[in-house]
Symmetry: C2
Subunit: 228 residues, 2 copies
Amino acid sequence: MKLCLKPIQTRSREERVIVRCCYKEEGHIGSCEEFPYLSHLNVVAPRVANKIKRDATKTTGAAWKSEDAGPNRIDRWAMLLNEEELLKKYKVNLSVLKPSVQAKLREKAATYEDCMNVAAKLTFLVYQMKDAPTPPDLIHSYLENHFGLMSFGSTKCIICKDYLSFALFDEAKRGRAHIETAHANPRIHNPENVGFAHRECNIAQGNRTLDEFYEWMYKILQRVEWKL
Amino acid sequence: MKLCLKPIQTRSREERVIVRCCYKEEGHIGSCEEFPYLSHLNVVAPRVANKIKRDATKTTGAAWKSEDAGPNRIDRWAMLLNEEELLKKYKVNLSVLKPSVQAKLREKAATYEDCMNVAAKLTFLVYQMKDAPTPPDLIHSYLENHFGLMSFGSTKCIICKDYLSFALFDEAKRGRAHIETAHANPRIHNPENVGFAHRECNIAQGNRTLDEFYEWMYKILQRVEWKL
């Protein structure tokens, strides 16, 4: 599938690091849009649409928010900049943070293109959750052109491999959603490596790759002789 | 082993809910003490001694600290009081907290006696960690009289069952210790149910009992067909 990719004017007054692009198909009609496949979720489930945009494009990290360091979420592609550029273009001062926190933020780095592909992939997965709204035909075909055939009700937690229900987005527990964006390898942010997971699975996986996590569990079950 | 259990005057000006007691052996010489078995760790590893006292007797819960609700740590036995008594005696206003947060705090409730026995048990386990300091004879025999023979280097993480090293208390990561006090059943605070665990193991276990946790892991490994 060929994309339009024409530059989009952003309203942000920040000095621009990347040029945001139109992700409609090439030769589309109507105005350019960065997240055309979210137009439906923007209306029927705006919190989910915002979560997709946020998780795909921003770092997390409430832990490091401070007056000295800057805001607690930042574009993932900013984490590709060196300290000087980061301070100049984002007013973020990495050097005041502990080395371990800096390293954790740097791990979240990703190109704009990878982030955009992750956003589309997450949308593709959301529509295939049990109880998810049905995508309009245009979005359905856009997502299938990107990632292959969709099978409704097929999206699983990438960690425990159990089916995920769209309804879990609404069941907030102590202010936190039950579904989180998760990474098979926490240090790689691209569509192949990203999916959704139960919050409890994501917490348990921690900073391990999925294979490391399964092996860690396997060794524990061996030590406690749990049905093995 | 018979204990002295004479009341100890506390310096706290809070209205007293329980009478703190002397946990030296009955007929001891010298002044009464609440944590006599910590006198050595108080000197050689004060942070560990304080952690034992804190984890044994206090709730956790930075999440609920607020001007409306009160301090973020509180005596576990206070959680046995009703709302009215809690407000009167501890200036803690549970009713302003969400029901789920209230329930989580109530789960931490324990009698003073159970807390004191947990503190002694944790001390017993600390001295049996690899690289731990050697306890003075009096403390050694006090703890063995309480809990049976000690075997140095034998303390394991109650979750992953791997050996724990005393040195882990010092390896702080983002301000947090690598060893945490853990519960086989998170809702029971007594010596039989309490031990130490790796921080990552404790996080992964979450709010499950150990058996629930192992079964959860087992089912995941079955689904991903990990060496099973």
